[in-house]
Each structure stands twice: as C-alpha cells, then as structure tokens.
C-alpha cells in the first residue's frame, strides 16, 4: 500500500434534496492511483468524472454531498477534512490542471505572480527564489522568452501558452498527485497533441502520479498505464490499459472503443454507443439508488 498516492473506496455522492437522499451522482466508486503512474478516468459527458476530481480536491458544489466512502490521499482522509488542514495539502501535495486555460488564470494578475504565489505560500520561498523557479519551470514546458512571459497578463498569451503555464504551475511544488481534468478539451486539435506530449514528458521527469480525466479512450490508450471507465457515476471497468484495450470486458467499454476515432479507421466506421447498453447501465444505477434509499 505504500506506493499508492490515492485510494478512493466505495465513494457515494448524491444530490442534496432536503432531508431525503437525492439521486446518486457517484455510486460506489473505488479507484487507486499508484506513485508515478498516469491513471485514465474515461467516460461520457455527465458521467461524473469531474465530480470525482472535485471530491478529491474538496471543491464539490454545495448541492452535492458525499454520503459514504473514503478518499485516502497520501495517508490522509480527504472526506470531512477540516478546511485548514486541506489547505496545507492543496497546491503542495495535490494540484490541478484545469480544463479551460482561458478562464483559469486571473485576468488582473501577471503570469509571474500567479506562478510564484503557490511556491511562496507552501515552500516559504522569497520572491526572487520563486521567480527563478518559475523561470526554470517555463523553460521545462518549452516557453521561450520566459522572463518576458512572467511579466505578461493572461490575455497576452494564446490558449496553448496559458495551458503550458498552468501545467508548469501544477508541478511547481513537486506534488505527489496531479489531477488533470480534461486538460486539452478547450484547445484546438494540433495544440491538444503538443499539450498531451508535454504532460507526459513532465510526468516522466518529475515522477508525479496523474489522474487524467478525459472522454477520449484513444488518449488514455496512448498516455496511461491503468484506467477506469465510468458511466452514470459507476465504475464499469477498471484495470491495466494493455488488458482492457485488447479484451474489454464490459459492453460499454467495447462500445466506447467503437466510438473512438482512430487513424486506421475511416470516420464513417464510428458507431455510437448502442442505446441498450446505456439503458442497461441506467437501469442498474436506478436499482442502486433504490437500494440505498431503502438503506437510509
């Protein structure tokens, strides 16, 4: 167990509906991320991927409540953790690469200030030392003229550049775990590839574990060693990428593969996930909610 950075066990989250238990958002989710590995979390839009990410970080919407289960991150229980304790972990041991680099940077603050603040907070570094570290990080993410970029405001950088800045910042305090919630969805296709390549390069160099949230199985197949497939807030398949790609067990995963574009297959060969597969999963989710409602 010593080499796991994140263990989610039997996590339940539901929509708060007065005193009653609302519909489930996450249903019995279990997931493990080992030291230094990249774990893919795949699922369709609305499956609950971001909710898992937010649950780990403790930034779930007010209306959503964790009703059961545990999130163990580096030996600390994140569910119900006091805010002051959580703040010591966030940014230092866990960091986030957000989905939309256009809105994730503060328009009123310079890039340099937004990169160095986290190091000054957690590592207690001086302005000068954090500045030098930020320069080195920008070089690592292949930003030229780093000194000038640190003085810029977000609106002066392209989307791809901003995502590079955010990736660099995520690595600033050498965290043990980085959560990347669809880090390329907001970017255009050519930039997406560069950013993914960069993410893997950074991960190899720093040995950081990454939970890569995406709806693209193709990306997971290329980037990750292990993966979890999620639908309707339930994990439907989990394991090593090499196993699952060759022998997907669940009909949903097979359908997801069939729906993933590949260079060796014409686009019109893509088929959507069949209705009956989705219906079966939703049926299962409803049964699950009924069982829990009876339980509470």
């Amino acid at each position: 167990m010593s080499n796991t950075v994140l263990t989610i066990a039997n996590l339940h989250a539901e929509l708060r509906a007065g005193r009653k238990t609302g519909p489930g958002i996450l249903r019995n989710v279990s997931l493990t991320v080992h030291q230094g590995e990249m774990h893919g979390l795949v699922g369709e839009s609305g499956a609950g991927k971001s909710m898992i990410a937010r649950a780990i970080l403790g930034i779930l919407p007010r209306s959503i409540l964790i009703s059961d289960g545990s999130i163990d991150c580096l030996g600390r229980q994140m569910v119900g953790l006091a805010d002051s304790d959580r703040r010591k972990i966030l940014g230092r041991d866990i960091s986030l690469i957000p989905q939309d680099p256009l809105t994730a940077l503060n328009p009123a603050r310079r890039i340099g200030a937004q990169m160095t603040d986290v190091m000054r907070l957690h590592l207690g570094w001086s302005r000068a030392r954090a500045h030098d570290a930020a320069l080195a990080l920008l070089n690592e993410v292949h930003i030229r003229d780093a000194e000038a970029v640190l003085r810029r405001y977000p609106h002066e950088l392209s989307g791809g550049m901003r995502q590079r800045v955010l990736i660099a910042t995520a690595f600033a305090c050498e965290p043990k775990l980085i959560i990347a919630d669809e880090p390329t969805t907001a970017l255009d296709v050519t930039v997406q590839k560069q950013i993914l390549r960069l993410l893997r390069e950074m991960q190899n160099r720093h040995g950081t574990a990454i939970l890569l949230v995406t709806h693209d199985l193709g990306v997971v197949a290329k980037m990750c060693r292990s993966l979890s497939v999620i639908h309707s807030g339930m994990i439907v398949e989990q394991g090593e990428v090499s196993d699952i790609v060759t022998r997907p067990e669940h009909a949903f995963t097979r359908a997801l593969f069939a729906a993933t574009p590949r260079y060796d297959r014409p686009a019109d060969a893509l088929s959507p996930v069949p209705g009956e597969v989705v219906r079966e999963l939703e049926e299962k989710a409803a049964t699950f909610d009924r069982a829990r409602a009876g339980l509470s």
């Binding site: 930034i59 972990i89 966030l90 809105t103 994730a104 503060n106 328009p107 405001y153 609106h155």
Partner: protein, 334 residues
C-alpha cells in the same frame, strides 16, 4: 494616451460651454432680481436703473452672455454682487475646504464600502451576512443631510463629543500658507492642528460619505459574489489559499470595476451634497458659498461656482476612466 487626452480635453471644453450656456440662461429667467436684493427700500427708479446698467443687466441675455464668456475665457469671472469681491479669488479661497471635505468623505466611503463588502463575502451564506445586508439596506435609504442632523443631535447636543460647526477652532494660532488646511497640517506635522481638523471634519465627512459607502457595499458585494465562482478563484482555492486572501487578492480587483463605475456616478451626488452639508455644519467651502450666492441672486458668483462644479465633475470622470485602465490590464494598451 495622447489621443485619449486630446479627445477628453475637447469633450471637457464642449461640456463646459454647454453648462455655461444653460446656467447663464437659467439664472436669468428664474424669478428673483439681484438688484432688488441689494437696494435699500427707499431707492428711486433711477438708482435701480443705474445699478442695473453698472452690472450690465440692462442688456439682452445674449449680449450679457458674450460679455461674460469673453471675460471668462481670460479667467475673469467678474465681481460678486453681494460680497463685492473678485469671484475667482473668492472661489479659490473656499475651494480647498470643499475638496478636502469631499476627498475625506470619498475615502471614508470607499474604505467602509470595501470593508463591509469583503466581510459580507467572507460570511457569505452565514448569519452575519444577513446583518450586513439588512443594515446596508437601511443606510441606503437615508440621505446625507439626515445623517448630518442626526449626528448634530447625537454628538453635538445629546453627548457633546465634537464641535458641530466650522472647519477649525478659531482660537488655534497657526499661520496657514494655503487653504488646504489638512494637507498642510499633515505635511508640517502639526498634530494638534490635525486633531482639531479631525474633530471638526469627521461628522460632515461621515454624513456625506455614508450613502456612498452603502452603495459601494451593495455593488461591490454583488460583483464579488459573481467573481467568487470564476475558474481562477477555484484555482486559487486548489492552490491552498485561504478565503480572505482569495477575496482580497483574486476577486477584489476584478470585482472593483463595476463598483468604480457606480462610485464615479455617485461622486457627483456627493459633491452636490456638500452644498447642504456645508450649510448645516457652517463649513466654509464653496457649497456654503453657493447657498448664499443663490439666496442673494448673486449672478456672477453663481455662474462661477457652477463652472467650478462642472470642472470638478470633469476631473472626476477623467480619473475614473484612468482607474479603469489601472484595474483592467486589458485596457492598458491601445
């Protein structure tokens, strides 16, 4: 920047001309005769006509305007009819008092407004937020002169804490070089004089500033609330920053832009408010002067004062626009 300033200068000139024309005509068509205010009861018709001719009031309004405007562009606004002094030097000697009062009121309003907006957000969705909102709603409904009267009753009469009239204790022996008493006392390090200025100034400044403080609180709290759900705020949370640091360090600057707009607009009312407040506290500024000028139908003085107020508004608007650029880096270039 050069083109911007030039455009603003042209706008300012047009505004001033417009204000001058409107005021010139207005003060001459409303009832009331400056000559009637200054003559003794037994004056003959010939005396009245002579006075009228002396002040040029026998000419047509158009002719009067061009004579006045011709002098005004050279900086000569004539002589006050009731005080028999040069209008420009009269206004310049009183203006610093009003500027200091308005600046103090604005500073108080901004400080109170920002503090209560930030506190309200800090306590968002908890009980103290309701207290702040409720209290703010009450303050929002009370005009400045009511505060002035309430302060006088409370701290002047009921619990005599502070002097309720004037700008400075006349017994204080201190030779001011300028009429910016506060700035001067501060620069020369005169603690006793400063203390007396404070004692005289806090009530009028607070009365003037409170309505603006309430408006700033309301607007700023609303825009802070919106800013707190932005992605960059989530990022700051995920970096491990505490709530106060996030509200002040991340959200405030972005949220300040709408609040600044409303502050700029409301500042006009604040300056207008000095007229009544200065009268109530016998504070020797141009507001007080304006009331006397109107009572005496002192046309040259009224005109000079109105132009002064217009110039103040133009400068305030200009500095508000400059502050936008300061708050929003996207406006800084081009």
């Amino acid at each position: 920047m050069g083109a911007f300033l030039l455009r603003r200068a042209v706008e300012a000139a047009l505004t001033l001309i417009g204000v001058a024309i409107v005021v010139f005509v207005l003060v001459r068509v409303v009832p009331g005769d400056p000559i009637a205010m200054m003559i003794s009861p037994g004056a003959s018709e010939a005396d009245i006509q002579a006075l009228r001719a002396l002040y040029g009031l026998d000419k047509s309004i158009l002719a009067q305007f061009f004579i006045w405007a011709g002098h005004a562009v050279t900086g000569d606004f004539g002589t006050s009819i009731s005080l028999r002094q040069n209008v420009v030097s009269l206004i310049l000697s009183r203006l610093p008092a009003t500027l200091e009062l308005a600046a103090a009121a604005t500073a108080l309003a901004v400080a109170l407004g920002v503090v209560f907006a930030v506190l309200g957000i800090m306590w968002s969705r908890r009980f103290p937020e309701k207290i702040i909102d409720g209290f703010n709603g009450v303050v929002l409904a009370i005009p400045d002169f009511i505060w002035a009267l309430a302060f006088i009753l409370l701290f002047g009469v009921l619990f005599p804490l502070a002097p309720i009239s004037g700008r400075i204790d006349p017994r204080i022996e201190f030779e001011f070089v300028t009429n910016f008493y506060f700035v001067e006392a501060l620069l020369r390090g005169e603690i006793a004089v400063l203390a007396d200025l404070f004692a005289h100034g806090w009530m009028p400044a607070l009365a003037l500033g409170l309505p603006l403080a309430a408006i700033i609180t309301r607007v700023l709290k609303g825009s802070l609330d919106q800013a707190m759900v932005e992605d960059y705020v989530t990022m700051a949370r995920v970096k491990g920053f505490g709530r106060l640091r996030i509200v002040v360090g991340e959200a405030l600057q972005n949220a300040a832009i709408p609040a600044l707009t409303i502050t700029g607009v409301q500042f006009t009312f604040l300056v207008g408010g000095t007229v009544l407040i200065e009268k109530i506290f016998s504070y020797p500024g141009i507001g007080n002067l304006a009331i006397d000028a109107v009572i005496n139908r002192d046309l040259p003085l009224i005109q000079g004062l109105i132009v002064t107020f217009a110039v103040i508004f133009i400068f305030v608007n200009l500095s508000v626009d400059m502050m936008y650029a300061l708050l929003n880096p996207r406006l800084r270039h081009g």
